[in-house]
C-alpha cells in the first residue's frame, strides 16, 4: 500500500506543475491596464480603416496620460477620452467611476415616442418591451417597440398583437429611441411583415490582427414566419436614437413593399459589440464586425435615411405635437 501511495504522490509531484506553463496574468497597474485596453482594440475593433483612425498615433498620445494618472478616476478619464476618439456608440468603458458613452445623436435630444401618447387609446403592454394601441379617430394600429434587449417572450407575442390589431387598415411600428439589443429579436418582429425571403444585411468579421483583416461578407436574410403575414400598409418611425439592432430592423422592414420609413436618420451603429475585461476588473465594449445593406453600403456613423424625413426634435419644449406620427398617418391615409 505504501508503494502505491508513493507512486501516486510521485505522479502528483511530477505532473502537478502546470502553473509553470501558464503565463502570469497582466499586472493591475495603470500602464498595464492601458496596454491591454489598447491591444484589445487593436486586434478586435472593426472600424479603424472605415473611420480612418490612426490607432497607433493615439497610443502615443494617451499612453503618457495613463502613466501620469494618480488615481482610478483620472485613469478612467484617460480610457474614456481614448474611447470617444472612435466616435462609436458601441464603445464604452464601464467602471465604478462611470460609463463612457459616445453621443451618436450629436447632442440632439429626440423625444422618441413620448408625444405619441396623446394620439392613442386602448394602450396595452406585451412585457416591458412592447406597447400597442389604437390611434384615436383613425383605423390605424400602433406598436411601440422600446427595445430589442428585453425578454424573448415579449417579442414572441407579436403574433397576438397583430391579431389584436388586424381590424385596423394600417399599422405604425415605432422604433424611435430604441437603442437596440438582439438581432434575433428584431428579426423575429420583421419576419411577420416579410413577403418573401430577402437579403437585408451583410456582415464581415475580423479574422486577423491587421486592421483590414476580415472574412468575406456573410449574408443575413429575413423570411416570412409566424401564423400569418401582415401585408397591410405599415409605417416604421425612426429617429436619431434608433440604433444598432433597431437599425437592422429598419434595414429589413424597408425592403418590404407595404412598408414606408418615416422620421429622422438613424444613429448609425452597426458594430455588434463584444465585451472585454481589464486586469483591474473594469469592463469595456467594442464593435466587432462591419455591417452593410444588401448593396454593400455601410451605415456606421452615417445612419439610415428614411423614405420621408421628419425631424423629431421639438422646436420648443411646450410643443407636444408628434410630427412624425402625423406624417405616418398621412402616408397611411394616402394608401
Amino acid at each position: 500500500m505504501k508503494k502505491t501511495i508513493s507512486f501516486i504522490l510521485a505522479g502528483v509531484i511530477l505532473f502537478g506543475c502546470e502553473r509553470a506553463f501558464f503565463e502570469d496574468e497582466p499586472e493591475d497597474t495603470y500602464v498595464s491596464n492601458f496596454e491591454v485596453f489598447w491591444s484589445e482594440f487593436d486586434r478586435n475593433y472593426s472600424f479603424f480603416e472605415l473611420k480612418n483612425i490612426d490607432w497607433d498615433s493615439l497610443y502615443h498620445v494617451y499612453r503618457p496620460l495613463a502613466e501620469l494618472a494618480v488615481n482610478d478616476g483620472q485613469f478612467f478619464q484617460v480610457l474614456a477620452k481614448l474611447s470617444l476618439e472612435l466616435k462609436d456608440g458601441h464603445v464604452n468603458v464601464i467602471s465604478p467611476y462611470g460609463v463612457s458613452t459616445y453621443d451618436f445623436a450629436d447632442g440632439e435630444r429626440p423625444v422618441g415616442a413620448q408625444n405619441a401618447k396623446s394620439y392613442l387609446f386602448n394602450v396595452k403592454r406585451a412585457g416591458n418591451s412592447i406597447e400597442y394601441a389604437e390611434v384615436l379617430r383613425q383605423n390605424v394600429g400602433y406598436i411601440h417597440i422600446k427595445t430589442f434587449g428585453g425578454d424573448i417572450e415579449d417579442y414572441e407575442k407579436i403574433d397576438d398583437i397583430l391579431e389584436a390589431l388586424k381590424k385596423e387598415d394600417g399599422l405604425i411600428v415605432d422604433v424611435r429611441s430604441n437603442g437596440g439589443g438582439s438581432t434575433t429579436k428584431s428579426q423575429t418582429i420583421a419576419s411577420r411583415f416579410a413577403d418573401k425571403e430577402r437579403l437585408y444585411l451583410k456582415v464581415k468579421y475580423k479574422n486577423g490582427p491587421g486592421h483590414g483583416d476580415f472574412t468575406d461578407w456573410d449574408e443575413r436574410t429575413v423570411s416570412p414566419e409566424g401564423p400569418s403575414q401582415y401585408n397591410k400598409p405599415v409605417v416604421v418611425l425612426t429617429d436619431k436614437k434608433t440604433f444598432s439592432a433597431s437599425e437592422e430592423f429598419v434595414l429589413a422592414m424597408r425592403l418590404f413593399p407595404q412598408v414606408t420609413i418615416v422620421g429622422d436618420t438613424t444613429g448609425g451603429g452597426s458594430g455588434n459589440p463584444i465585451l472585454r475585461e481589464l486586469p483591474n476588473g473594469w469592463v469595456f465594449r467594442l464593435s466587432s464586425w462591419i455591417a452593410a445593406d444588401p448593396d454593400n453600403n455601410t451605415y456606421e456613423g452615417i445612419g439610415l435615411v428614411p423614405d420621408i424625413l421628419v425631424t423629431t426634435v421639438p422646436q420648443n419644449s411646450l410643443d407636444n405635437t408628434d410630427y412624425a406620427l402625423l406624417e405616418a398617418l398621412r402616408v397611411l391615409d394616402s394608401q
Binding site: 507512486f7 505532473f15 506553463f21 464601464i94 460609463v99 465585451l275 475585461e277 476588473g281
Partner: protein, 262 residues
C-alpha cells in the same frame, strides 16, 4: 519536420511492429465499466481573455476494455461540465468538455517478464470537444465571449504495469501527442452556435500542438467479474492559433468494471 516524421514512424512501429514480435495470446473477456470522480480545470484562452480560470467538475464516464491476440483495446468516454472563475474578475466561465479516447496497446515485454511486470506501448487516439462561455453580467449589452474546439490527437503512449498479489494491478501510463487535427475558431468573434463555421484549423503539428498525459492507476478485483479501480490522471494541452490556448486537468477517479464472462 524531422520531429513529425519521427513521430509518425514511432506510431507505426508501436502499432504494427510489435505484432510480429510476440505470439498471439488467448482472448480475455471484455470489461465494461463506469467511472466518476473529481476533475480540476485550469484554462487560459487568450483569444477571449488573459485570465487563468480554474475550477472543478464531477466527470462521468464509461470504459470498455478488451484484450485480443496482439494487444489491448481501451475505449473511454467521459463528459464534464464546470463553472470556472479567475481572481479579480467579474467574468464567470462555463465550460463543457467531452472526451472519447480509443487506446490500442501491445505488450512490448511479455516474453521477458513472465507477465508480472509488463511494458505496453501503442496509440491513444484522443478526441476532445469542448466549449467555453464567458459571462460578464454587464449592465451594458454586448455579446459574451463564446468559443470552443474539437481536436483529435494520436498520442504515443507507454504503460508500465505490475501485477501484485490477489490480482491487484498497479499501472502508470504516460502519453505525448505530437500532432492533432483541430477544428477551432482562430480569430473572429463569432458568437453563439449559429455561425460556427470558422474554418477547420487543419492539422496542427508538434510545434503548435502540445499534449501530455499521465495516469497512475490501481485496481483490485472485488469478485471474479467485478473490479474496482482508482486512478489519478493529469493532462496538459496547448495549441496556437492567432493566440494560444492552454488547459490543464487533474482528475481523481473511481471506476467499477464488470467482465462479460469469467
Amino acid at each position: 519536420m524531422i520531429k513529425q516524421i519521427l513521430a509518425v514512424l514511432l506510431l507505426c512501429f508501436l502499432s504494427f511492429g510489435s505484432m510480429y514480435a510476440q505470439g498471439s495470446s488467448p482472448s480475455m473477456p471484455a470489461r465494461l465499466g463506469v467511472s466518476t470522480g473529481f476533475r480540476s480545470f485550469l484554462i487560459r484562452d487568450e483569444l477571449e481573455s488573459f485570465r487563468n480560470f480554474s475550477g472543478g467538475a464531477v466527470p462521468v464516464g464509461v470504459t470498455w476494455e478488451k484484450e485480443k491476440g496482439f494487444g489491448e483495446w481501451h475505449l473511454e468516454a467521459a463528459v464534464a461540465m464546470s463553472r470556472l472563475a479567475a481572481d479579480n474578475s467579474r467574468l464567470k466561465l462555463k465550460t463543457f468538455v467531452s472526451n472519447m479516447d480509443v487506446q490500442y496497446l501491445t505488450n512490448l515485454s511479455r516474453s521477458k517478464t513472465g507477465g508480472r511486470l509488463a511494458v505496453h506501448g501503442g496509440i491513444n487516439l484522443v478526441n476532445q470537444a469542448s466549449s467555453r462561455t464567458y459571462a460578464f453580467n454587464s449592465t451594458i449589452g454586448g455579446q459574451d465571449p463564446f468559443t470552443g474546439e474539437f481536436f483529435s490527437s494520436p498520442e504515443l503512449i507507454v504503460k508500465l504495469g505490475n501485477t501484485l498479489k490477489k490480482g491487484r494491478r498497479l499501472e502508470w501510463s504516460i502519453a505525448w501527442g505530437p500532432m492533432a487535427y483541430l477544428i477551432s475558431r482562430d480569430y473572429h468573434p463569432i458568437r453563439g452556435f449559429q455561425k460556427f463555421r470558422d474554418v477547420p484549423k487543419g492539422m496542427v503539428f508538434a510545434n503548435d500542438f502540445v499534449d501530455f498525459y499521465s495516469k497512475v492507476g490501481y485496481s483490485t478485483p472485488l469478485t471474479d467479474k467485478v473490479t474496482l479501480s482508482t486512478a489519478y490522471k493529469w493532462r496538459y494541452l496547448r495549441y496556437e492559433r492567432n493566440y494560444p490556448f492552454q488547459m490543464a486537468n487533474h482528475e481523481l477517479c473511481v471506476s467499477i468494471s464488470w467482465a462479460s464472462q469469467k
